[in-house]
């Protein structure tokens, strides 16, 4: 078990719940989702509780994350997009905190399961489609018909555009899931080399220094990836929401 790099992704039932033949068990994944929401919520609430005119360090982290997401959304979708700020900010904080919590040893990484990231991506695309149709009616379908295309080519171009649109939730979810999964497996494999090499005597201990250095470097890289994936997820959410707000320019 110690050297099994996949073992960290196992889901275990903590509180088995079954309603109407469906499995609603509270698993370790659910536990860490609750922990993520609680940690993010508590951090944001407690750092802004005092609301100093001159912010403390923690308060300025909260303010920076607000500014960061707000400017990202304004750049991508204009000031009209700010009505989606709660959605984008919640998604960004959830993914970021879930990724960072996953960096603790023995913690479960929620975002390393594709069903979780796919549900988040479906939430984004669902919002885009529902809001687009609600706001623009069938005019939203103009999204799939670029201007100035010759009539003969329209069926082909529309088919390509539809596939391109449908690929968005897939690429959004697979990117986050694959990066977290691959990163954690790599980390575990290199850390496993350290233990198995150092079991081989003096030469092994000397040789174990190399994978140890690699593990340290990878840990730093994983922190970067944890932040970048949350950033990419939020940026793409903003860009997709922009399509719902302005389907044709």
């Amino acid at each position: 078990m110690a050297n099994d790099p996949i073992h960290q992704f196992h889901i275990t039932k903590l509180v088995p719940i079954e309603i109407g033949g469906l499995d609603f068990s509270f698993t370790n994944s659910s536990l860490f989702m609750v922990a993520t929401v609680a940690a993010a919520g508590a951090f944001l609430y407690m750092t802004t509780a005092s609301r100093g005119l001159v912010p403390s360090r923690l308060q300025s982290i909260t303010e920076m994350s607000y500014e960061f997401v707000a400017s990202m959304l304004r750049d991508a979708a204009g000031s009209q997009g700010m009505r989606f700020f709660p959605l984008v900010f919640s998604l960004f904080m959830f993914v970021l905190v879930a990724n960072l919590l996953g960096m603790f040893p023995y913690f479960f990484t929620v975002t390393s399961h594709i069903i979780v990231t796919f549900a988040l991506a479906l939430l984004v695309i669902g919002t885009v489609v529902v809001y687009g149709f609600w706001k623009h009616g069938l005019g939203f379908l103009k999204l799939f018909v670029p201007e100035g295309v010759p009539g003969v080519l329209i069926p082909l171009v529309v088919a390509i555009e539809v596939i391109s649109f449908l690929s968005r939730p897939i690429s959004l979810s697979v990117r986050l899931f694959a990066n977290m999964l691959a990163g954690h497996i790599t980390l575990k494999v290199f850390a496993g080399f350290v233990t198995s090499l150092s079991a081989m005597g003096v030469v092994g201990v000397a040789g174990a220094i190399l994978p140890l250095l690699m593990t340290i470097a990878l840990t730093g890289l994983e922190f970067l990836v944890a932040f970048l994936q949350a950033y990419v997820f939020a940026v793409l959410t903003c860009m997709y929401l922009n399509d719902a707000l302005h389907p044709s320019h």
Binding site: K142, P146, E147, S164, L166, S167, S171, L228, H249
Partner: protein, 123 residues
Amino acid sequence: MADRSSGNGGGEPRGQADDDLARRRRDLDAAIAARRSEKVDEVAGADRGGKANWGHALRLSSEFISAIVVGAALGWFIDRGLGSSPWGLIGFLLLGFAAGVLNVMRATGQVAEFGRRTDRTED
């Protein structure tokens, strides 16, 4: 308010002090605003370039592959529904390939985003 606490004599200096304070706060605001704008510009310039580039690099492969997967899946379901195997799979796989190329060119800013004529600056 000043009258009640310290009579007529106290009102005048207190008012002056308020004016003085307001003026100093205005000056401070202006100084902070001037300093912040240049600092933010510097930081944003360097920082955003780095983050945006990393973001792009991480996007490209998944954009390409996901379109091919979606095309193949669509073709497979159409084949199953209409019994036209394997032509739906072949056709939609090729369409998916085209959509993947389109996705990548969009992600690198070489093709305008959905339904847009003019090329926006990326992200």
